[in-house]
């Protein structure tokens, strides 16, 4: 793969960008949408893995730079799968019963438009990190 011009270099850059995109997002997490999927036994049993895969694929196809990570049980086992969404500069919001459909709605309404939708678990808590 010989680079014969600056344009070639840029082309390669675009091609290989994906390789480290995840890491660049991670490095600037606070500037991006962060989604944490509860993936303890209860979550996995309720289909959290499928929801997570869907979220990653969907966000990617829409070109939204988001960081989807897994986390342990959030303590809302009754509402699995649960996810926490943190938009830059916003308080974290937890959604319950996140199926594929729900996930689509969360992307459409909350992440893109910023409108809150049903299914928010109203809880007075800090981020999972500090638990």
């Amino acid at each position: 793969m010989k680079i014969k011009s600056l344009a070639d270099l840029r082309k390669i850059k675009d091609e290989v960008q994906e390789k480290i995109k995840l890491r660049e997002l991670g490095e600037n997490a606070e500037n991006h949408v962060q989604i944490k999927v509860a993936m303890a036994t209860c979550g996995i049993a309720a289909g959290a893995k499928d929801s997570m895969n869907y979220l990653i694929a969907e966000l990617d196809s829409r070109g939204i730079d988001a960081i989807v990570t897994q986390t342990g049980c959030m303590g809302f086992c009754y509402a699995e799968p649960t996810i926490e969404v943190i938009k830059p500069g916003k308080e974290p919001v937890i959604f319950g019963f996140v199926t594929r459909e729900k996930a689509k709605e969360i992307i459409d309404e909350y992440i893109i438009k910023g409108e809150l939708i049903d299914g928010v678990i109203p809880v007075n808590y800090k981020t999972i990190e500090e638990q």
Binding site: I3, L6, K19, K21, L22, G26, V37, Q70, T71, E129
Partner: protein, 597 residues
């Protein structure tokens, strides 16, 4: 490719590899394959993360979970907990020593909080053996920009505007150096990268070459374009096998991609790089000595002028910069001089990498903006002094630098302030000492190093440093006189004033700075024949306090020479004629029953 949801970054720096990092990578790959996660999770060997104290380190992306002191056996647990159960493996998380809380994200670790990583931007981030990862991080864009959009003069102006100064020690403005070399008329010129890091306790150049070799290649090519050279040479220590290995891979990749060689990016610019090996001589960090060494001779410095920019390698104009200086170049082109200018202090722009070591909690490689104070570095980033001991001094600039004390802690670090304080930036070694360190011994340690490394060409360095060392030895043996202290200072000043090269001119700095800041310790050695820090063997004796001794036999069992006797549960006794004063008993005793008198 894009299917990877997570990356596992494993530090592949020399320090972590020494602790089986390669096995960790292997185990991860195996374990992930077994759990069918290998399509989702990618394992990447990266350059050094800097946090060597806690190595080997593993970072999980994108959640930034930071695992420390990982062993190959821990891999199963990490996979099980982190990836299957989705929760961080608590036992391997970093524990904040201040409050004992564990910290998950690398970003929340004090060690990283105040750091600004420019030269180290890709270390611990990309796979250094993969040029594409470098390109993805804007790699070679700076070279492309310089070649296609700028004249050499414009490019040099950019470097000048950035205010970048040489990171190898002297702090000479980089842009100016390039300009001087450019102006010398000659059809053959050379770009040399000085990677002969010799300062014991500094390893930033090695880390950069191991973690981000392409940034050096790119910067050298830019420099070549600017000064009108089409040959580059990297002079690297033979003791750095991993850095050499990765640099070779990077050179081959760059050639394969047409980023080195003829007609780079179709601009007609040719540039190639060769490797030359050092062979263990600190003085070869001095540019004239380095050039003689590259020519296959003894690495003896010669008088400047002529400077290498006029007559260097093979008598041709040669521009020598060190690794860290080069590492800054591509970023400056990508982000602009103004951006770089905003970081640091007025006369020292940008950041500086330090190898923080010694008696701090967090030993490692750090990068901070110029102007950060020593206190921030040692206490915030470094996490303070180990074992709750008292801070005593910090040596910056390695054997060429000086020992700074409590009163210098709030000095913003930059070239000029360090010189004013009696030390220097040097290559960026930073050794922290605590109350147990004898400053006379420290001065002696550095002198011994200089003595070993002096090339022997000029009188003051060859004989003067020997005499300085002998005076210090006399003092640490309790045989010194007050007149010796005066002699020490006088001789130091002459050596500084008359030595041929930087090595000799700075070699007395550890002596002078300790004389200035710890005169009382010298006086104690001379007048009361004591070593306040309890380090000088000739002046101390280990004794067992019979009242405190529980007869646990730990000292007896650990004494390497069998100098300790005593029955179980009875007070023990140290036979002074056998004792070699190694201090093992003192360290091992759990009851503080052994004292230094």
């Amino acid at each position: 490719m894009a299917d990877y949801k997570m990356h596992i970054l494993v530090c592949g720096g020399t320090g972590c590899r020494a602790s089986q990092a390669e096995q960790i990578v292997k185990n991860f790959k195996q374990e992930l394959a077994q759990k069918s996660l290998d399509k989702e999770i990618k394992v990447v060997t990266t350059g050094c993360f800097g946090f060597c104290e806690k190595g080997p380190v593993v970072k999980i992306i994108p959640d930034n979970t930071f695992y420390t002191q990982v062993t190959p056996q821990d891999v199963t647990d990490i996979v099980e907990e982190h990836f299957i159960k989705g929760r961080p493996l608590k036992r391997l998380l970093y524990h904040n020593p201040k409050n004992e809380f564990s910290v998950t994200s690398a970003k929340n670790i004090d060690f990283y909080k105040k750091q600004v990583r420019i030269a180290l931007r890709n270390c611990g981030f990309i796979n250094p053996e993969n040029i594409e990862e470098y390109i993805a991080r804007d790699g070679y864009a700076a070279l492309g920009m310089a070649l296609t959009e700028m004249t050499p003069e414009q490019a040099i102006q950019l470097v000048k505007d950035s205010g970048l100064r040489g990171r190898g020690g002297g702090g000479f403005p980089t842009g100016l150096k390039w300009e001087i070399t450019r102006k010398v008329q000659n059809s053959q010129k050379y770009v040399v990268c000085n990677a002969d890091e010799g300062d014991p306790g500094a390893f930033m150049d090695r880390s950069i070459l191991e973690g981000d070799p392409h940034s050096i290649i790119e910067a050298m090519a830019i420099c070549g374009y600017c000064i009108g050279a089409s040959n580059g040479l990297v002079y690297i220590r033979a003791e750095y096998p991993l850095a050499i290995h990765r640099l070779k891979i990077a050179l081959n990749q760059a050639k394969e991609y047409g980023l080195l060689g003829k007609d780079i990016m179709g601009t007609g610019f040719n540039f190639d790089i060769e490797i030359r090996y050092g062979a263990g001589a600190f003085v070869c960090g001095e540019e004239t000595a380095l050039i003689h060494s590259m020519e296959g001779s003894r690495g003896e410095p010669t008088f400047k002028p002529p400077f290498p920019s006029v007559s260097g390698y093979q008598g041709k104009p040669t521009n020598v910069n060190n690794v860290e200086t080069f590492a800054n170049i591509p970023v400056i082109f990508n982000k602009g001089a103004e951006w770089f200018n905003k970081i640091g202090t007025e006369k020292s722009r940008g950041t500086k990498v330090f190898a923080l070591a010694g008696k701090v909690n967090n030993v490692g490689l750090i990068e901070v903006p110029m102007g950060t104070t020593l206190r921030e570095v040692i206490f915030d980033i470094g996490g303070g002094i180990r074992g709750g001991k008292r801070f005593k001094a910090v040596q910056t600039g390695g054997p060429s630098g000086g020992c700074l004390t409590e009163k210098h802690l709030d000095t913003p670090i930059d070239y000029d302030n360090l010189i004013l304080a009696g030390s220097m930036m040097g290559s960026g070694g930073m050794i922290v000492m605590d109350e147990d360190d004898c400053m006379v011994s420290i001065a002696k340690f550095y002198l011994e190093f200089t003595l070993d490394e002096s090339c022997g060409k000029c009188t003051p360095c060859r004989i003067g440093n020997k005499r300085l060392f002998e005076l210090l030895e006399k003092i640490t043996q309790g045989k010194g006189t007050m007149q010796d202290l005066d002699r020490l200072r006088m001789l130091s000043n002459v050596i500084k004033d008359t030595s041929l090269c930087g090595l000799g001119q700075t070699s007395p700095n550890p002596v002078l700075s300790t004389l200035d800041n710890f005169y009382h310790e010298y006086v104690a050695h001379v007048n009361s024949k004591t070593c306040p820090a309890g380090q000088c063997k000739a002046l101390l004796k280990y004794e067992v306090d019979a009242e405190m001794c529980t007869g646990c036999t730990l000292c007896f069992r650990n004494c390497p020479v069998g100098a300790i006797t005593g029955e179980k549960k009875m007070p023990h006794y140290i036979n002074q004629s056998l004792c070699i004063k190694c201090g093992v008993c003192y360290d091992k005793c759990k009851f503080k029953a052994i004292s230094i008198v």
